[in-house]
Amino acid sequence: MKKIIAICATLLVLTLPAFAAGPKKMPDASYKKVSELVALPDFLPGMGTLYVNPSTLPVGPFLAYDRKGTLVSTIYMVPLSDMEKHTAFTGLATGSNQVKKVDITFNAGHPGVESPHYHVTLWHVNPESAMVK
């Protein structure tokens, strides 16, 4: 009995880092690397490497992977103009159903979403542990 408990404890310890690190699954083929669609760098400090299904632009979801290839967040980019028109965005996909924290931040615009908008970021890992600097 003690042996079984020890084996289970060992297996649990070995798998804990995987649970803590967040999902690593890469997006399906419908998602394209954002840097291959618009004039943005491969890696965006603070966010990571972004993938998006072009048919979902501008809102997304954008799937963000850190330097270790971990899916760290799902980002929705909501134009202010749509907010002012009270546009509804419903049934949006998410990269993971594990959400640790949410950030809502203003962005003045960038290639791909060239108007003022908000980033709604669902963090799938603790943001402090995400290697996105």
């Binding site: 004039a39 760098p41 931040t105 962005n107 003045a108 615009g109 960038h110 060239e114 003022p116």
Partner: protein, 177 residues
């Protein structure tokens, strides 16, 4: 060259200092790290005809320096009619830069493509005189006046520094207005 505009090639990285570089006026393309605040700095500039002007990306964002001209996606004409328009294209990396030499006297309004709607615009006055009443310094109307030309976003119109202020001070910072 027609219009008196000499267009330098797009350059990447930092320049090495040379006697020619001493004659260049730099305009920084600035952004906070989170992309919430963007500006050209200086946002208003008075230069002499023939002055070289170089826009440099500070690296926190992606920018362009694009003249208000119908050739640039049907934007309104807000540079001297005899001047040749420019568009830097997207400057992506820290230190990416773009240079022009403006020789036709007058007011040159320009914008950043991804940030025009957030008010990232700038104004350069090319003049040998600080006399506000000269014909070449007649202000542009807010409304484009031509149906095919895109109207300027309100944020852009609000952000142009006043012509008298540029003539008086010579340089207006984008971060301290």
């Amino acid at each position: 060259m027609a219009g008196g505009l000499w267009l330098a090639s797009l350059t990447l990285g930092r320049f090495c200092l040379s006697a020619e570089d001493e004659d260049v006026v730099e305009i920084s393309m600035r952004s906070t790290e989170d992309g919430s605040i963007v500006t050209f700095d200086p946002i208003g500039l008075l230069v002499r005809p023939g002055q070289r002007i170089r826009w440099v990306n500070d690296g926190n964002n992606v920018h362009t320096a694009t003249a208000y001209h119908p050739k640039n996606d049907n934007h309104a004409l807000r540079i001297p009619a005899a001047a040749v328009p420019w568009d830097s294209g997207y400057l992506v990396n820290p230190g990416d830069s773009f240079e022009v030499r403006l020789t036709v006297e007058g007011i040159y309004d320009y914008y950043c493509i991804p940030h025009e709607m957030s008010g990232m615009v700038g104004r350069i006055i090319v003049s040998t005189s600080r006399d506000y009443n000269q014909a070449s310094l007649k202000p542009y109307p807010d409304s484009p006046g031509v149906e095919e030309w895109s109207p300027l976003p309100d944020a852009a119109l609000r952000n142009f520094p006043p012509i008298p202020a540029i003539l008086e001070r010579g340089r207006i910072g984008g971060s301290n207005r």
